[in-house]
Symmetry: C2
């Protein structure tokens, strides 16, 4: 009798775990595009042009931290890649300008292959590892990841299927 | 005395007109990006991939009207270009997939030159002619325009300065 109860409890537990894993989302957890990222060869000129067209002040240009701080990995290798960044905050979305500097990166590869153009669209996600695994399960591979003050990012190469890279962003501030 | 009053009134009117014309915006009138447009070679496959990644139904694919209805002009010439379109409405922005069909267009030229990639970012504007003139004054040239049910569009080639085309959208429904 005791064995039967244990067996039933075990079954209930197994069913519970199965149901829980079935509710893991098989799509992006966010429906908000937070950013459009554009690689440029001259961030100073591009920033001036955007400021002029949008009617705003030219923002400060930021340089990403060194690899020791960002833990940047490109195609599963360490790299000295950095980037100059400029951000334009529109009412509903952010435009990020990216001028690659230093070593190999998805930014440099995109600029070399496609010229100045849109590199990624970004989504803020909760569980980064889960979302990366979900997208890799769909054949979309992570090409670069790294940290920044207050968060982490991962670029997923959706160019073959979606015509653009996806950037996943998580925040460590919340 | 009467002449002096008339002269003063005339001066006030002239100053008023000058001030009014000076307030014409020399930048985009909107700070909201309404759409990211992506050219693709197979809209059916791309729509399925987006629906899968976003966790939504695959939307209906629309074919733009014929040139007689859309009054489409590409590089100041008439063209038979049309496009298959699919729209994904996110919480804050719309993704538009575009598969060019028919004659020459900015969509076809972009696909031929750059492959599947982001074609434009869109802004809804009030006075289309004024915004086109303002952007052309900054060296950004209109490459294509046309009508659709409920509105008009114009593509401004910002690839050299901004790394992307701008689409201006106006609505005739309001």
């Amino acid at each position: 009798m005791q064995n039967t109860i244990l067996l039933l409890l075990g079954l209930c537990l197994a069913i519970g775990i199965t149901i829980a894993s079935d509710t893991t989302k098989q799509h992006l957890s966010s429906n908000v595009m937070t950013q459009v990222g554009i690689v440029v060869s001259d961030i100073d000129a591009a920033s001036r042009a955007y400021a002029d067209v949008l009617g705003v002040e030219k923002p400060d240009i930021i340089i990403t931290d060194s690899a020791e701080k960002t833990n940047i990995r490109y195609k599963e290798q360490s790299t000295d890649a950095r980037a100059k960044l400029a951000f334009f905050n529109l009412e509903n979305i952010q435009i990020e300008l990216i001028e690659p500097i230093g070593g190999p990166s998805t930014w440099q590869e995109h600029l070399d292959t496609h010229g100045e153009s849109v590199h990624h669209i970004a989504f803020k996600v909760g569980d980064m590892q889960q979302e990366i695994a979900m997208l890799e399960g769909k054949g979309l591979n992570m090409v670069q990841k790294g940290d920044f003050t207050g968060g982490s990012y991962a670029y997923i190469d959706g160019r073959d299927k979606l015509g653009v890279l996806l950037e996943l962003l998580t925040s460590t501030d919340e």
